[in-house]
């Protein structure tokens, strides 16, 4: 399956079966956890970045977030 949204969409649409609308309580796409929610509210997500000339730690913060208490990433093998 291609990564292209449209080709995937068209492929699915051509298959058989009824389509049923389902509502879910999740109201915000990035609202699945506290870390993501806070970050999205604090930073200008899509515009220019705020000014600083230092070390950007956001990738490190992400790595820390998904590491367990032993420092291992939460991959299946680490569980």
């Amino acid at each position: 399956m291609a990564l292209n949204d449209r080709s995937l969409f068209e492929s699915l649409a051509s298959s058989a079966g009824p389509v049923v609308r389902v509502s879910i309580p999740t109201s915000v796409s990035h609202n699945f956890d506290a870390m993501q929610r806070v970050t999205k509210q604090v930073l200008g997500q899509l515009g220019c970045e705020a000014c600083h000339s230092g070390f950007d730690i956001r990738y490190d913060v992400l790595r820390e977030f998904i590491a367990d208490e032993k420092g291992n990433l939460r991959t299946p093998s680490a569980r």
Binding site: L3, S15, F32, T39, V42, L46, A50, D56, R63
Partner: protein
């Protein structure tokens, strides 16, 4: 008309909203970085659009506002994109800013493939030709603004070069030639001194201190033996001492602004911000009390030793940018910078900055990649993307470019199509202001919720699903989702 005296303030981020609304005695002025509230559109006539809901919240704050640009610096030989000026003027008018400022730096260059962004504010060529280029760039912006314009003294991680103008002499000459104000960033100057450049006291001795309307202070951090202007916490004690000595010498000082990035704001906390601002208010009370040094300093410009290098300001910008971004260049400056250890520092900072943007904009996608392949996979993908594509000024454009890169490279990561498609659709929904449909081959909740908790999805429920991602009115970059499924 004299500029108003504003007092002690802070750079705006939404997380500060409770403090700004409730404690007007503590925060006297709010400085707004306008481009952080803009998005980039596909409309060539009006490529920049403001976040109206964010602007409404800003306007409702009781404090006076200042406008401090971060996207269109004025220190280089190429004037910034004039298409940003109408929106900048609109924001100055809307916020009632009594003056505006930008950085004495550059963030665009040219190479074999055309113009590209540097992904970082870089130091201009400190030569007489560099002075003329920066002054022309400043005037090209200032002429369109309804208020006075100032430039910020920048951080510079490069070693001093033989024959270049000193940091103080360069800023002084630019400010005089452009007839503009100065935002004296004390943390930048302090970092420069710690990293081997001119002493702060010597810089100040060369500056026209009566042009300093505003002072910036911040915290920083160590990295590979360099002190970085990271805006990462409290103002260091020695820098506070420096501010206490310097503020009395600034006869036209109107504001002192504390800078901290949103990432580190969560670590310092609002109580930490309160303490910091309280300390700065005590320093503020010392302002302009002994401007004797302002009158006795000011060496004649002719006393500054400097010589023109054998490359132009534009060639300097192209060579430095190529070094930092990792692109080819035929500029003579490119070769001269080969041995400067500051270039490697800048290169690493750009890498981290770009990775931070992607983690921010495509958070679930990056989690999936990290959980599936670990740090080696993510670094390999980031390296490949950064090598193939120069930085972008706007985070949404950088995210879309990375999405397209993943689409081409097709790493074998389960569920990547769905997760990446979902996040790209969310960005498009915000930018285009209309709903986006995303197909899923699994129950979206069973894919996305584990990722949000930092876990790989396990046995997600298969089926035919579509997620409708809709921009949410009044919420900053928020979207709502609804599901259409057949299972």
């Amino acid at each position: 008309m004299p500029l108003p005296v504003l007092g002690v303030g802070i750079i705006y981020t939404p997380a500060l909203q409770p403090l700004l609304e409730a404690e007007t005695d503590l925060v006297s002025v709010v400085e707004v970085e306008p481009e952080t509230l803009w998005t980039f559109t596909a409309d060539p006539a009006e490529p920049y659009q403001p976040d109206r809901s964010a602007l409404d919240r800003l306007c409702a704050l009781p404090q006076p506002k200042l406008v401090h640009g971060v996207g269109f610096p004025v220190g280089g030989s190429r004037p910034p994109d004039p298409l940003h000026l109408p929106l900048l003027v609109d924001m100055i008018d809307l916020l009632g800013a009594p003056w505006a400022s930008e950085h004495l730096a550059f963030n665009r260059a040219a190479g074999p493939g055309g113009s590209f962004a540097t992904g970082f504010l870089l130091p201009p060529l400190q030569s007489p030709a560099g002075v003329a280029a920066a002054a022309a760039s400043i005037r090209s912006v200032a002429a369109h603004l309804p208020v006075p314009f100032a430039v910020e003294t920048g951080v510079n991680y490069l070693q001093p070069r033989a024959g270049e103008m000193s940091d103080g002499a360069f800023v002084a000459a630019v400010a005089e030639a452009a007839d503009c104000g100065i935002v004296l960033d004390l943390h930048n100057l302090w970092a420069n001194e710690r990293n081997g450049r001119q002493r702060v006291e010597d810089v100040l001795a060369e500056l026209p201190l009566e042009r300093v309307w505003e002072v910036h202070v911040a915290g920083g951090s160590e990295f590979r033996g360099y002190w970085l202007d990271a805006h990462s916490g409290e103002v260091p004690g020695p820098l506070l001492d420096l501010a206490q000595r310097i503020l009395p010498e600034l006869p036209e000082l109107r504001a002192v602004v504390f800078e901290i990035t949103a990432t580190f704001l969560t670590r310092l906390g609002l109580d930490g911000v309160r303490r910091q601002l309280g300390t700065l208010r005590e320093v503020w009370e010392q302002r302009g009390r002994s401007p004797r040094l302002a009158s006795r300093r000011r060496p004649a410009p002719a006393s500054t030793p400097s010589e023109e290098p054998d490359f132009t300001p534009g060639e300097w910008e192209d060579g430095l940018a190529a070094r930092v971004v990792g692109r080819p260049s035929s500029s003579a400056a490119y070769d001269r910078l080969a041995d400067d250890p500051g270039v490697d520092v800048l290169r690493q900072l750009v890498w981290n900055f770009r990775s931070g943007v992607l983690v921010e904009t495509l958070g679930l996608t990056c989690r999936l990649l990290l959980l599936h392949g670990g740090d080696p996979l993510v670094r390999d993908l980031f390296d490949g993307f950064f090598f193939s594509s120069p930085p972008q000024l706007f985070a949404s454009v950088e995210a879309e470019a990375f999405g397209a890169y993943l689409e081409r490279r097709r790493p074998e990561v389960p569920f990547l199509e769905e997760v990446l498609g979902f996040e790209r659709a969310a960005i498009r929904a915000v930018l285009e202001g209309r709903p986006q449909l995303v197909p899923f081959r699994f129950d979206p909740a069973s894919l996305l919720e584990p990722l949000a908790r930092g876990r790989l999805p396990e046995s997600p429920t298969p089926g035919r699903f579509e997620v409708e991602v809709t921009p949410e009115a009044g919420a900053n970059h928020a979207v709502t989702t609804g599901l259409i499924s057949s299972s």
